[in-house]
């Protein structure tokens, strides 16, 4: 089959330092990650003929949401590109990596440098998180339907999905807590994670409420850092430094109405469609997955991805994660092994793909899952944004 995403593989990984208020130039962080990824692949800058990034440079959004765009990196590294893309209207943050897969599969490029940089922690300073839209006198576009009602954060939009899930399926805060507790346990084994101190169920249940049913520990931590990876055409990846990670399938579908409040089933999100599509394009099944790196910008999103990807039936995510053993490092579905975004830091989607590759390479050190994982899934996005990739080590 030609022109398939299976002609793409991931050959290089890089990540800058990750932290709170690093007070570093976001382009500097980006270059750290990009050069590390190029080096890790055993390539040189002359080999890089494509760039793909999310959300592109200079887009509106919270301060520090966009760290660097295509042209910033191209010019800093003096790259000679055959193809490039940077933008935000994509199936989630990892949609940019899917674009790169298509570029190499169709022969437009051989080695695409993909990156995502955030510096929200530094850009927003030490004060309280600002609401979306707070700098406007009037709002237009899609935001006009939420901001006037004080629904000025994804926390409030996603909390309503969680509440509906609780209502329809009996999901509980104690169950949802396992996403956060598991992330914290794994973060303790990741030297780059931001929050590494132990977190107990009692800590979780007594934390201040942000927007019911979410407490502080259901919300990820704004961070500074950049993640980069190299997507290569398979034939171009044969003699590189590390074994290539095969892209088996991707999920990019969006079949419901693309908004937070018009989505048909308020217990699911666009992950439902992306997850379904992923399995339509592969012989592998959910039971083949050895490690899952699922977006947890809010805890409920990881639960929604667990259901969307078919690890359990719709509505059964609560019982599936109850007690946390199943999703632990030594469980049947190790989840968010780097600490997720909840404890690892908001690398905004790319961190999950990076970690999936780390685990498939067996480079997870203290947090490496046992038994030689060969298949991993990485996902990113919430609400109307969703994209996922299924990866394998040949």
């Amino acid at each position: 089959m030609s022109g398939s995403v299976r002609d793409a593989c991931i050959t290089g990984l890089g990540q800058s330092e990750v932290g709170r208020r690093l007070n570093r130039d976001p382009l500097g962080l980006t270059i750290d990650a990009c050069l590390e990824a190029i080096e890790d692949a055993g390539l040189t800058r002359e080999d890089i003929d494509g760039i793909a990034t999310y959300p592109g440079g200079s887009v509106p959004g919270a301060a520090g949401f966009s760290g660097a765009g295509v042209v910033d990196v191209q010019d800093a590294l003096r790259l000679e590109l055959s193809w490039f893309t940077g933008g935000i209207e994509l199936p989630g943050q990892l949609g940019s990596v899917v674009n790169a897969c298509m570029a190499v599969a169709t022969g437009l490029a051989s080695h695409v440098l993909c990156f995502r940089t955030v510096w929200e922690s530094t850009a927003q300073g030490a004060g309280r998180r600002a609401g979306i839209g707070g700098s406007y006198s009037r709002v237009g576009g899609p935001m006009q339907w939420t901001i006037p009602f004080g629904a000025a954060s994804a926390a409030t939009w996603i909390a309503m999905f969680a509440q509906r899930h609780f209502h329809e399926y009996g999901t509980t805060r104690e169950q949802l807590a396992q996403i956060a507790l598991n992330a914290r346990r794994n973060a303790a084994r990741n030297p780059k994670a931001i929050y590494r101190d132990p977190l107990s169920l009692e800590d979780y249940l007594s934390a201040r409420i942000i927007s019911t049913p979410f407490c502080l520990f259901d919300c990820d931590v704004p961070s500074d850092g950049s993640t980069a990876l190299i997507v290569s055409r398979r034939e171009a990846a044969r003699d590189l430094r590390k074994p290539p990670i095969q892209v088996e399938a991707v999920g990019t579908a969006l079949r419901g109405r693309p908004s937070w409040d018009q989505w048909d089933d308020l217990t699911t999100m666009a992950a439902r469609d992306a997850g379904a599509m992923l399995w339509e394009h592969t012989q592998l099944r959910p039971s083949d997955v050895d490690v899952a790196e699922l977006y947890d910008g809010f805890s409920f999103l990881a639960l929604a991805w667990i259901e969307a990807l078919g690890f359990c039936k719709q509505g059964e995510g609560g019982p599936f994660i109850e007690g946390g053993a199943r999703i632990a490092l030594d469980g049947e579905l190790p989840l968010n092994t780097q600490g997720g975004q909840l404890s690892g830091g908001r690398m905004h989607g790319y961190g999950f793909l990076h970690e999936a590759c780390v685990q498939l390479r067996g480079e997870g050190a203290e947090r490496q899952v046992p038994n030689d994982p060969r298949v991993a899934v990485a996902s990113a996005g919430g609400g109307p944004l969703a994209g996922c990739l299924l990866l394998s080590r040949p």
């Binding site: 839209g133 006009q144 629904a151 000025a152 927007s211 049913p213």
Partner: protein
Amino acid sequence: MTEKPTRILPAVTPENAHFWQGGAEGELRFLRCRDCSSYVHPPAPVCGHCLGRELAVAAVSGRAQVLTYTVNHQPWLPGFDPPYVIAIVEIEEQPGLRLTTNIVNCAPEALRIGMPVRVLFEQHEDVAIPLFEPVES
């Protein structure tokens, strides 16, 4: 919310004025397809159901039910003090005709999904914000 919060208001345009200004006359208004009678929201130049191009403004009863909600405790916006209730409501006239809104005149602990509510409006400058309150049973 006993006093009016400071709200970031929508920018009124020819396309959305019926929705954001209808409340000044006590009406919750949507676009409605002349061909299939579906309500269309957010406003669009085509009916999402039948692709009809003839859309007219029509008022609804203002009755709705709560599909889901959250009690927000975090101060996101200056002058919009928590706690306050954000909800998605479904308008009685059409399944799937939904708004994000605030539920007012209701203790947060009394809220429940499926609760019948009705519209009321809070006027700010040239905009009437549609809020909902419980229907007395």
